[in-house]
């Protein structure tokens, strides 16, 4: 089965652990080369983050388990890129 090369997820988490801790913990997982954590929204108790995770073989189940263990919840999987080539989305007339 083709390896996941890029995973973009929407995560809700408490203020603690920090975004830095989330990024470092996810980036330490095997098969991941880099992680981008972007703050989307902040509330009194929680924050919404967009995680862009790239690597030769991103294990999405391990990522979800790690996010869960950090106290967060994966709200949605916004993008998955699989295969030898990282294919970017292309604009269509509908866009």
């Amino acid at each position: 089965m083709a390896a996941v090369r890029r995973l973009v997820i929407d995560v809700l988490k408490p203020h603690d652990p920090s975004s830095v801790q989330v990024a470092r913990t996810v980036a330490d997982l095997p098969g991941i080369d880099g992680v981008n954590v972007t703050l989307v929204e902040t509330d009194r108790e929680v924050q919404t983050l967009k995680l862009t995770i790239e690597g030769p073989d991103v294990d999405h189940e391990a990522v979800e388990t790690t996010v869960d263990e950090l106290g967060g919840s994966v709200h949605s999987v916004d993008q998955v890129v699989c295969g030898e080539l990282v294919v970017e989305g292309v604009e269509t007339p509908q866009d």
Binding site: P14, E45, E69, L70, G71
Partner: protein, 198 residues
């Protein structure tokens, strides 16, 4: 899980807790507050023991040890229960916002470690506050009970001064003034004990 992994995880959790400014601030408050109680209790025990004619320095030390055990147990036990309730309420707030149970998550584990650090700091305060002023009584056979009592009050005031300076330093205050403000309390306790009838 092997004991090695367990210990490694505990050490990492402890280091994380000690690096957390909120955990340090709460622990500092409990340490100083209960250490203040301990030092004042110790000065009271020293002056009271001398004035009521306790025969030996060792007897005074034993009374002090009893006070230290009581205050340390109080410090650990009360903070353990207080922080359990406080942190449970904090977690419940986050759980409501997250719409999920956070038991077993890193946040939950960090709260447990923080509670343990708070409780230990709370117990250490009175141990230091009571036992240090008692040490001159170990020399009572050579210097006499009067001078051992004077020295005990001096050490007690010194401990209070140290606690005050420590708190003052963390707040950016003059450590000598902050230390003196707390040290005076020791002298007040000694004088009030001396003036008490009987």
């Amino acid at each position: 899980m092997t004991p090695d992994l367990d210990l490694g995880r505990a050490v990492r959790a402890l280091r994380t807790a000690l690096a957390d400014e909120e955990v340090r601030a709460i622990s500092r408050r409990y340490l100083v507050s209960n250490g203040f109680d301990g030092a004042l209790t110790s000065i009271g025990v020293a002056v009271g023991s001398f004035l009521t004619g306790v025969p030996t320095g060792l007897a005074v030390v034993k009374i002090g040890l009893g006070a230290a055990v009581g205050l340390a147990t109080s410090g650990v036990w009360s903070v353990w229960e207080i922080e359990r309730a406080e942190k449970r309420a904090e977690l419940a707030d986050v759980e409501r916002a997250m719409l999920r149970d956070l038991s077993g998550t890193r946040l939950h584990r960090e709260q447990r470690t923080a509670r343990a650090v708070n409780a230990v700091a709370s117990g250490l305060g009175p141990v230091a506050g009571v036992l240090l002023p008692m040490t001159p009584y170990l020399m009572a056979p050579s210097i006499g009970l009067l001078w051992a009592t004077v020295a005990a009050v001096g050490v007690g005031v010194g401990v209070l001064f140290a606690f005050g300076s420590y708190v003052g330093t963390t707040a950016g205050l003059n450590p000598y003034v902050a230390g003196a403000r707390m040290g005076v309390a020791g002298l007040v306790v000694a004088v009030v004990n001396y003036l008490l009838p009987g």
